[in-house]
């Protein structure tokens, strides 16, 4: 058979392939209008960058209040040690039971840090305005140090994670409120090299805190 014959046949027969019904114009237009109105509304209700950072500030203040509470109830910070030494010298080690309230406070704090760093990294990479980060990082840094001194910091793994968080937040806090692109790149590299976001996500599973905190705190 010839190519022409085959092509004729295909073009003719293919008209039946998924033959469209009558176009539902009105139905689709109504949905388009509704979806556009919904999206406009969603955009209008989205916080501006300033409003977002205010929310962050409030969240950080709440964590800070918890941190101060923790700080007032504890003594000097014990230094984390390898587990062998802990067995010999006292009750500090990975296997030690940290009081539930401290554990929850620590995880809530790490969740805030993880969100902060995720937003920070995204905005830095996208070239979006990264403002007021240093102040927020300082607040989170203060809470981190309080937690390091709390019973939560006696857990070796938690202490190591808090150490990493402390270094990263200290680095961000040391820059001005509007870091330069070079500074942003350095922070981003530091985050990547430490794998800090991965560690934080592993330490703070999604189902954590909100429900448990309601029952305990």
């Amino acid at each position: 058979m010839s190519d022409d014959r085959f092509e004729d046949f295909v073009q003719r027969a293919a008209q039946e392939y998924h033959r469209p019904p009558e176009v539902p114009r009105e139905q689709m237009w109504a949905r388009i209008a509704a979806a556009r109105a919904e999206r406009k509304l969603a955009r209008a209700s989205q916080p501006s960058p300033q409003q977002r950072w205010v929310r962050w500030g409030l969240a950080a203040a709440a964590v800070l209040a918890v941190g101060i509470g923790i700080g007032r109830t504890i003594g000097p910070r014990p230094t984390p040690r390898p587990s062998g030494m802990q067995m010999a010298e006292g009750p500090a080690g990975a296997g030690e039971q940290v009081p539930a309230a401290f554990e929850i406070a620590a995880r809530d704090h790490l969740r805030h840090v993880e969100t902060f760093l995720t937003v920070f990294q995204y905005e830095a990479r996208e070239g979006l305005a990264v403002e007021e980060t240093a102040g927020l990082a300082r607040n989170l840094l203060m809470n981190t140090r309080l937690l390091m001194d709390s019973p939560a910091g006696r857990d070796v793994r938690m202490a190591a994670l808090l150490d990493d968080v402390e270094v990263m937040l200290a680095q961000i806090a040391s820059y001005a409120d509007s870091p330069t692109p070079a500074e942003l790149r350095l922070i981003d590299m530091g985050l990547e090299q430490r794998g800090l976001l991965l560690k934080l996500r592993a330490a703070v599973p999604a189902e954590n805190s909100a429900f448990r905190a309601q029952g305990v705190l």
Binding site: A13, A14, P21, V23
Partner: protein, 191 residues
């Protein structure tokens, strides 16, 4: 066949319409939609084989187009720009919809009721539909756009972001695969 760009209005009319859409004229939006919706929906339906998906893809195409119309610089026809959005939405959508093939099979059965089959043998038509379904998406897209919906290679190239020559090559490969898949029916189309 659907043919090429919708006719019946000049480029100047369309530019005026787009200018009105840019300043939020709802009547102009509706008019622009009316001009192009058939072609977008038909292409979506041909590729998806499913009315729900075709409606979703069409709606998303127009939503995106209206949102991004500020970025339309008028270097190409509005239709060319719109069909590029449409093909992106449709192809991305099809890749995401895992149940696509199952639903397509169900709809093929339903669509067969009451549809005139013309001159061709039912088995051969079914064989063709199956063979088209089995084509890789990039070949199927070009085949449907060109042989079924009547787009030119220039239009296909602009919509898919490839040179017209690539569109021609894909169509040629698509036909070769169909020919191979339909070899058992050779006597029927030759007669």
């Amino acid at each position: 066949m659907a043919g090429s760009e919708p006719q019946g209005r000049s480029l100047v009319d369309e530019r005026e319409l787009i200018a009105k859409v840019r300043v939020g004229d709802a009547v102009a939006e509706r008019q622009l939609y009316e001009y192009h919706v058939d072609r977008v929906y038909r292409l979506a339906y041909r590729l998806a084989g499913d009315d729900d998906l075709a409606q979703d893809f069409t709606q998303e195409t127009f939503i995106r187009a209206f949102e991004r119309i500020e970025g339309f610089r008028g270097e190409a026809a509005f239709g060319t720009w719109l069909y590029a959005i449409a093909t992106t939405v449709i192809l991305n959508g099809l890749r995401k919809v895992k149940r696509f093939r199952t639903r397509e099979a169900e709809l093929d059965d339903a669509a067969a009721i009451g549809v005139s089959r013309g001159d061709a043998d039912p088995d051969l038509k079914e064989g063709l539909a199956n063979a088209v379904d089995d084509l890789p998406l990039k070949y199927r897209t070009v085949f449907v756009m060109h042989d079924v919906e009547g787009y030119t290679h220039e239009e296909i190239g602009a919509a898919l972001g490839v040179p017209p020559g690539t569109s021609k090559a894909r169509l040629s490969r698509a036909r070769a695969r169909l020919r191979e898949a339909l070899a058992q029916f050779a006597g029927e189309w030759a007669s």
